[in-house]
Each structure stands twice: as structure tokens, then as C-alpha cells.
Amino acid sequence: MSTVAVALTPVCAVSAVPLEGGVAALVSGEAVAVFRTHSGEVFALSNVDPFSGASVLSRGIVGSRGDAPVVSSPMYKQAFDLRTGACLDDETVSVPSYDVSVVDGVVHVGSVRPVGEVT
């Protein structure tokens, strides 16, 4: 058995998350968006788009803005930093970001991280 902290929920095989794409997962009743970047890094943000309230962020386009890996909301296109959840188009807005790790090819989502903390 691997040494996984209790708070981490396994959600899916990492291969189930498309490269430069996302999937939605249900973690303790919350919708979480799990993303994988081109380099294979995995990130997790709340799936709820703060501008529309709809649970859709996992369906956005994953790419980059400057050095930041971002997802742009499929609803009104604002970009969110995958590492922090900060909205890059409105500094007053951010979405919760989650601890996430890949263990034995499986994505595990942990608890919500304090705002501003970087992986």
C-alpha cells in the first residue's frame, strides 16, 4: 500500500485527464475540475465559474498566459491561473484551488488550499 494521506480522494487515472484539458470530479460533494497541462502537470480548481455560477470550468481551454498555466472559462472566457485559482482578468476574483497529487498513475484530490498558496 502506498502512503497516501487520508484526506486525499482518488478520482481517476491520470490518463483519463486529457493533455491540455480537464475533467470534473465529485470530491466530498463538491465539483472539482482536474486539469493536466502539456508538460503533464496536474492541477485542481473548483469547477464553479465564479462569474456565471455554473459548474463548468473543467470544460474550458487549457493553455498559457505569459508563464502561467491557465484555463479560460467556457462561459465568459476569463483566464484562471491553474496553480492558484487567481483570475488573471479580474484581480478581485479567484476560485478555490485544491491539493492534488498523482500516485501510481491515479489522480488524488486533497483539501482546499489557503488562497494564494502555490504548488
Binding site: P18, E20, H38, R59, S72
Partner: protein, 876 residues
């Protein structure tokens, strides 16, 4: 209170109109009432663009498009316009004008505040109007030389919309036509005859075409171009007589310089257009004893005032300092000067730049400054390439330091840089020949243009004016600057320079005027399209690695996905492209405000069987979807959760439906009226054609969405002219219109070609759409694309109809590949388990619906509840 002054303007042409506009804009109407009397039946129109009337000559569309005052009235009630009224006499002692008004015009514009109103005309009668200031703006009339037979039916001039109507009508029954006069206007008239399908000849007395503007080298280069277009040019010949009985049958000509009785030759023609120069319409002035210049034109001083301080003359009827100017720009300047004079301003008119640049039958021709090197000691530099049909000449000062003038034929791209160099006296670079050598041999020097350089000669707008509009008036684009300064709004030849100035300015202040589509690509969509085509790329990774930076975004990824889709016809959800798609494409549906999707099956041409209607009803009922008839003649089912989409589409596909692409930047609908099958007015089967076109172009990924329409007759019930491509049935076939849309900036489609048979229509449409797909910017609809193409609709016509680039077959082949490769995206998705994998609510709980989606009921159908308002724990 001082009494309001009365200004009477005679003539509502381009210059009379500019005078009225300037009077309003500059506050002259605060103290003056203006009465404008115009002889023509319609308000002033853009005579410079007269020839484009033919392009719209269905109904009265052409006249509307040309109008300078589309409503027929000025916003300011102190300016009154009375049309259909000829001023027949001026009494300078009494300060009155006598007007003869045909019944149709009088009494139609009453009820307005104007001191002149009490002198309202009586139908059909002669009226007299008093003036304090008289402005003659009567323009000029074509000169018809006293040739035997010039009164026969079939002889025309080329000046007014009525002239064009008459030429068009006569051409219907004619096979050949001849234009007398190979000057600027004559060649334009020849162009019109070619467009009207006539075997066209031009006869010119001088040994070359455009003798006033061009030298021999340029003239012969132009002849080669023009003959290639099917016009026969006869230079150095004089017209002896017009042959025929009551109607023209031909033109008898002989060599210039030979005597009467020398051998003659007959050019067959049923249409003859005189274009042998113009004469100022100065008769009113002559008759009231005002002096006219020796070669015609009302003699005026630098303020455009005649010897009578109450009378001014402006435009082509005037001869300031004895010279008349046959161009609109000097006329506009004169109009401004008179308004200024009446406001006690200091403005004067001291001559004008007679430079010309035009596109004749698709050939660039420009002549500017001292084109004939008449300045003492001036030197000529010429460059000619007979194969390419290019002739360029620069005239420079003796010491080579200044540009004095020049001529460009076949490639006038340098005109925008060169002409201002003449007017501003900017120093020439050390090797001035670089300015006219073709790019690649070292040319392309970008010259700093001084601020006072005049950029738009039609409207006298300098570089400084343009910069001011950008820095102080918030203008961001050519369109803005056009509105603010009028630059580019007349002949359009300065638009490219205006654009460069705006872009240079933004670049100089560090504002990124990157034409790149986003931070990841410094390429335009068009350049990206070409890059993909040339290298045969199939993956975003390869494109961004070779031509971009970073990992892309919601701008470049969908754009590249669309480019790949239009070049390859592979399914948009293939692994290589699936993650590039915008959310709507990614789930083959339109996302709604609560994260659900809409379902829009294709209903080509709006035609649907009862059975299919029932299926839609049943599916909607079974899945509890909201249904609505769309503005696009089909039915939209709203409120489907993402994971429900495959099952819903399974039902629809099994019943024979396919994707309607409501989500894609691709063909939406081809709207149709009921057409000749049922409608008592229909002349063609509009439904049949609409369905055929919708099925032909379905799935075509394009820079923006595409809509079409087909109407069965000119009543236009399908609103085809509000679509990117619109087809309207005629007795003989179909008229094809392009560039229409509704939406945020509505535009009416304009005629591309008329009376086409169905096969030709389809081939033109294939070319048009593929040309658009290849060259438009991202999210640019056809209307804005056409507007921003150099040459506009005429350019499109050259490429699509005349096949001037020889691209026709290639564009059609690309469309054939698209049509052949089409498959229904939804059917293909249902058949491929890997594509279906994405349609789950949660990767780890595929059967749990998204708890944030909930509905309430209104008017018996579901309605989304805003996610924030859903009580925690509420059932979905």
C-alpha cells in the same frame, strides 16, 4: 436682433451638399437659412463612385448606396432642400432667382422652420426666391463634340444616374459599344460597357490613353492592360460621323492628322458614350453678366466670390483665378472656403493638387505632381517591366533632392508614400530609384512622412489631422478616423496610408498593434491559414512549436482548430484537435447560462415533415427540454445536461436528423421562403435551392458563422440580403448577394452577380466562401471582411467572377473536397466510444447529475434557476 440671412445654393451635387453640410457643422445656420435648389430628381450622390451603381443596379439599390444624404433631408431644419427644381434666371439687382419646379418635387418638404418657406413653390409653377447670398454649385456637363449624327438613339453621356439607367437599358439589346474619349472618365465608361457585356471599343484622338495624366510609356502600358480585358483601343483617331438611321449602328473614324476624305474605318456599335471632356455649367452667370474664364467657369477670387459680393461659385462650375478643376477635392475645398468667408474667416482657395489615383478595370493608375517633368532641369527615373505590365516614373529636382511628381501604372502601391512627398517637399533618400523598384530588389523603404503632409486629398486631411483623431478623439481604427475626419470616405485611395499611420502611431507609443491573433502567435489568421496549408500541419503542437510561443489560449486554439477543420475535413473531436475546440464545439452543443446545452438539429431550408416534427416533440417531452422556434427557421431544444446529449442525439440521428452546427463557426442555416412551388409570386424554387445550398455547405468551418438565404422573388420574404450570402430569384435565374448580416452591426448584402444559372451560382458561391475561409480574420463576418479587403466588393468580384487571380478552380476544388468529406459530427461521435468518453457529469461519478443544475417552470416549460439561487441540498 439682426435679421436672419438667406443663402440660396444652386445645385445639389457633391459640392453643393458639402457646402450645406459645412454650413450646419460650422454654425453658419445659426445666423443663416439655407435653401438648396437641385435640378436632379434625387439628393446629391457620390458621382465619383458613379460606376458602382451598376453593381447594385437592381431596383433602386444602387442609387441608395451612392446617396450622400440618404434620408433626403438635412437634420438641421434651417437647411431646406428642394429637388427637381431648375434655376433659370438670376436677377442680381433684385437679388432673386427664378425656379421652375416640375410638380413632383414641390410641396413635399413643407412645414419646417425656414425664413424662405413663405415663398413655397406651386406645383408646376415658376417661383422666385430672394437671397442675401447666392452660391452657384451647378457643376459641369459632359462636352459632346459636334459630330454628325450625335443626336441618334443610342448616344449617351456619362454623368448622372439617369445616364447610367439609359445606358443599361440600351445595352440589353446591344452587342457592342464604343466610348469616344480615352481619358479617365472614358475608361471608366468603357469599364461599365464591359460589365454590361458589350464588345467594347475606346477611341481617343491623342496618340495615347489618358493624355492629360500619362506619358507615352505609361499610356502604352495601360493599353496592354486594357486590351487584355477585352477592350479594343484605337488611339490617334478622330470620329467623323455616327452611322445609322434613327439609331446608331457604328462610328466612322479616320487617322488623326489626315484630311477629310482620307480613308475611314467603321467601328460597329449600337451604344456610343461621349466622354470627350466636361464644360462648366456657367450659363446662369453669363446671363446675369458675371465674368467667366476664357475656357469656361465662373470667374471667382480666392474666396470664391464673383465680382458681385453677394454671389459665390464653387465646384466644377467655378474657375478660381481662371482655372476650373474637374475633381471633387478642390470643389470641397471651395465649399469650405465660402462657409469660412461667410463666417468672416480668413480661408482662401489657392489651387489644388490634381493628383489622380484610380483603379481602372482592375489596373492601378496614378499620376501626381509634375508628372511631365516640366520643371526646369528636372530629371526622370523610369522603371518598366513589360511582362508584369508595370511602368513607374519619378520626376525629381535637378539636384535629386526633391520629388516633383510621377506616374505609376500597374502597381501604384507607392502612391501613398510618394504623393505626400511631393506636397510636403520631404527630402528624397540617397537612392531614389529604390522608391519604384519592385520589392525584393531592395525597395520598400518606409519613409517618415511629415505631419503636414496631406494624406487624403479628397477631403484635405493631413497626417496631423489623423494623428489628432487618434490621440485626442479616441479613434482606434480606419473606420473611426473616417468618421472623425472624413479621410478615406470619398475615393478610398488613401485608406491604406491612413491605416499605416494609425498602426505606426500605436506602435510608436508602445501599444501592441500586433496583427497577430493573440500573445501566442504574431501571425494573422490568414497567415496562419497559409502556414498550415504550406506545411501540411495537423497538430497544434507542431504549429505552436514552429511559429508561436507558449501553450495557446481560447483565441488561437479554436482558430487553429477551425483552420485544420476547413483544410482536412477530419472530425473535430479527434484526439489531435478535441482539446483545441471552444466549449460549444467540444460538446457539439451551445452552452447555456447554467451549464446545460442546447440541441439544434438541422432542418434544411426550414422544411420538415410532420413525422420529424413529432420526433422532436417526443424527444423534448422525454427529456423535459424547453423548445423554441428559432430565428433561423428551426427548432432549438434547451436544458440538456451534458451527459444526456448522446442519448438525445441517438434518438434524433435514428430519426434521420443531423447536427445543425448551431454551436460552430460554420454554416448555420440557409433560410428560405416558400417559393414558386406554392407562392403565387414565386419565379424559382427557393426551397429546393436553399436545401441544396444548406446541404452543400453544412459543416464548413469558417472564420465566423455563415448564414444564407434564398428568396423566390424580389419580395424577399427570406430576408436573403440580411445574410452572408443571399440568393434572390429572377425571371432568368438567380441574383447572388454577399456580405449581409443582422447582429450587432447589420449590413445589407450587395450584388455580386446577376441572372446566374444554378451551376454558375454554385461555382461562384464555392469560390466566394472558400476565398473568405482562406483570407478573413478570426471572427470577421463576410461584411467586414469585404469592407477591409483592398478593393472591397470589386476585389471579391474580380477574384470570384472574373477569376483574375486564376484561383477559381482551386477554390472550387477545395470546396469539392469539403463536400465530399462531410460527415455528420453527431453520428460519427455516437459511433466512436472514445469520443463519447467526455460526455459524463463527473469522471468519478458518471451517474450523478450536476447538483448545481435546477429548473423551475414557466409557461408550461422548464426554465433554469440561477445556480447561486439553488438551495443547498435541493434536488436537481
Amino acid at each position: 436682433m439682426t435679421k436672419r440671412q438667406r443663402i440660396v445654393v444652386v445645385g445639389h451635387g457633391m459640392v453643393g451638399h458639402r457646402f450645406a453640410q459645412a454650413a450646419v457643422e460650422r454654425g453658419l445656420t445659426e445666423t443663416h437659412d439655407v435653401l438648396v435648389l437641385g435640378e436632379e430628381p434625387r439628393a446629391a450622390y457620390d458621382r465619383v463612385a458613379l460606376t458602382s451603381w451598376f453593381a447594385h443596379a437592381d431596383g433602386d439599390g444602387g442609387s441608395d448606396a451612392l446617396s450622400l444624404l440618404p434620408g433626403g433631408e438635412y437634420d438641421d431644419p434651417r437647411v431646406r432642400l428642394v429637388l427637381d427644381s431648375v434655376v433659370t434666371e438670376v436677377d442680381r439687382a433684385a437679388r432673386t432667382v427664378t425656379v421652375v419646379s416640375p410638380p413632383s418635387a414641390v410641396g413635399s418638404r413643407d412645414g419646417r422652420q425656414n425664413a424662405l418657406l413663405d415663398q413655397q413653390g406651386v406645383p408646376g409653377a415658376v417661383t422666385v426666391h430672394e437671397y442675401d447670398v447666392l452660391v452657384l454649385a451647378t457643376g459641369a456637363a459632359p462636352f459632346v463634340p459636334p459630330v454628325e449624327g450625335r443626336g441618334k438613339d443610342g448616344c449617351f453621356v456619362y454623368r448622372t444616374i439617369e445616364d447610367l439607367e439609359a445606358i443599361q437599358a440600351a445595352s440589353a439589346a446591344a452587342t457592342s459599344g464604343v466610348v469616344i474619349g480615352g481619358g479617365l472618365l472614358g475608361l471608366e465608361a468603357a469599364n461599365a460597357l464591359v460589365q454590361l457585356g458589350l464588345d467594347t471599343h475606346v477611341v481617343e484622338m491623342a496618340p495615347r490613353l489618358m493624355p492629360v495624366q500619362l506619358d507615352d510609356g505609361a499610356g502604352s502600358t495601360l493599353v496592354r492592360h486594357i486590351e487584355r480585358l477585352g477592350v479594343t483601343v484605337h488611339t490617334g483617331v478622330v470620329t467623323e460621323a455616327i452611322e445609322g438611321g434613327s439609331s446608331v449602328t457604328g462610328l466612322r473614324v479616320r487617322q488623326a492628322g489626315t484630311d477629310e476624305g482620307a480613308p475611314t474605318q467603321v467601328v460597329d456599335a449600337q451604344v456610343v458614350v461621349f466622354s470627350a471632356g466636361i464644360r462648366p455649367r456657367d450659363a446662369l452667370a453669363r446671363e446675369c453678366d458675371l465674368e467667366v474664364a476664357p475656357r469656361g467657369g465662373v470667374l471667382v477670387d480666392e474666396q470664391c466670390r464673383t465680382a458681385d459680393p453677394h454671389v459665390f461659385a464653387i465646384g466644377e462650375c467655378a474657375a478660381p483665378g481662371g482655372t476650373m478643376y474637374g475633381l471633387v477635392a478642390p470643389g470641397y475645398a471651395m465649399a469650405e472656403v465660402v462657409v469660412d468667408a461667410l463666417l468672416d474667416g480668413p480661408g482662401t482657395f489657392t489651387g489644388a493638387d490634381m493628383s489622380t489615383k484610380l483603379k481602372l478595370l482592375g489596373v492601378d493608375v496614378a499620376s501626381f505632381g509634375d508628372a511631365f517633368a516640366t520643371t526646369d532641369g528636372s530629371l526622370e527615373l523610369t522603371y518598366a517591366d513589360a511582362v508584369a505590365g508595370v511602368y513607374k516614373k519619378l520626376v525629381v529636382s535637378e539636384d535629386g533632392s526633391r520629388l516633383l511628381g510621377g506616374i505609376l501604372v500597374g502597381d501604384a502601391s507607392a502612391y501613398g508614400v510618394l504623393r505626400p512627398m511631393v506636397s510636403s517637399g520631404l527630402a528624397l533618400p540617397d537612392n531614389p530609384e529604390q522608391l519604384i523598384l519592385p520589392v525584393g530588389t531592395g525597395a520598400g523603404i518606409q519613409l517618415g512622412m511629415p505631419d503636414e503632409a496631406q494624406v487624403c486629398s479628397c477631403n484635405d486631411v493631413t497626417k496631423a489631422d489623423i494623428l489628432h483623431a487618434v490621440t485626442d478623439q479616441g479613434c482606434e481604427s480606419v473606420g473611426d478616423v473616417k468618421q472623425c475626419t472624413r479621410a478615406g470616405s470619398t475615393c478610398g485611395s488613401c485608406v491604406a496610408t491612413v491605416k499605416n499611420i494609425i498602426e505606426d502611431h500605436f506602435a510608436s507609443v508602445g501599444r501592441v498593434v500586433d496583427k497577430g491573433i493573440c500573445e501566442h502567435f504574431r501571425l494573422t489568421r490568414q497567415a496562419l491559414f497559409d502556414v498550415v496549408a504550406v506545411h501540411g500541419y495537423r497538430r497544434f503542437d507542431d504549429i505552436v512549436a514552429a511559429h508561436g510561443t507558449g501553450r495557446g489560449c481560447d483565441v488561437c486554439k479554436p482558430a487553429i482548430a477551425s483552420i485544420l477543420a476547413s483544410q482536412t475535413s477530419t472530425h473535430i473531436l479527434e484526439p489531435a484537435t478535441a482539446e483545441l475546440q471552444d466549449t460549444n464545439d467540444k460538446y457539439l452543443g451551445n452552452i447555456q447560462r447554467n451549464g446545460t446545452y442546447s440541441v439544434v438539429p438541422r432542418i434544411p431550408g426550414g422544411e420538415i415533415t410532420p413525422d420529424k416534427l413529432i420526433v422532436i416533440g417526443e424527444v423534448a417531452k422525454d427529456y423535459g427540454l424547453y423548445t423554441k422556434i428559432t430565428g433561423g427557421q428551426r427548432i432549438d431544444l434547451f436544458g440538456a445536461r451534458m451527459e444526456q446529449l448522446p442519448a438525445i442525439w441517438r434518438r434524433l440521428v435514428d430519426a434521420g436528423f443531423e447536427s445543425g452546427h448551431a454551436y460552430g463557426k460554420s454554416l448555420r442555416t440557409v433560410k428560405s421562403c416558400v417559393g414558386s412551388t406554392w407562392c403565387r409570386f414565386g419565379v424559382q424554387d427557393s426551397v429546393g435551392l436553399a436545401i441544396a445550398l444548406e446541404l452543400r455547405y453544412r459543416g464548413l468551418r469558417s472564420p465566423h458563422k455563415l448564414k444564407g438565404g434564398v428568396s423566390g422573388c424580389a419580395r424577399e420574404c427570406a430576408e436573403a440580403r440580411g445574410k452572408d450570402f443571399g440568393v434572390i430569384a429572377t425571371e432568368k435565374g438567380w441574383n447572388l448577394y454577399v456580405g449581409g448580416n443582422g447582429g450587432a452591426t447589420p449590413a445589407h448584402a450587395r450584388l455580386l452577380a446577376g441572372d446566374l444559372d444554378t451551376a454558375t451560382l454554385v461555382s461562384y458561391l464555392d469560390r466566394f466562401l472558400m476565398y473568405y475561409v482562406r483570407t478573413a480574420d478570426r471572427l470577421q463576418r463576410t461584411s467586414t471582411w469585404i469592407e477591409q479587403l483592398d478593393g472591397g466588393l470589386d476585389r471579391v468580384r474580380e477574384v470570384v467572377v472574373d477569376d483574375s487571380l486564376g484561383l477559381g478552380a482551386e477554390l472550387e476544388a477545395e470546396m469539392a473536397r469539403h463536400v465530399g468529406g462531410y460527415e455528420d459530427e453527431w453520428r460519427a461521435t455516437l459511433e466512436d466510444p472514445t469520443k463519447l468518453e467526455r460526455f459524463v457529469s463527473f469522471v468519478n461519478a458518471p451517474d450523478t447529475p450536476d447538483p448545481s443544475i435546477a429548473f423551475t417552470t414557466e409557461r408550461d416549460q422548464i426554465q433554469p434557476i440561477a445556480p447561486a439561487l439553488i438551495p443547498v441540498g435541493a434536488p436537481a
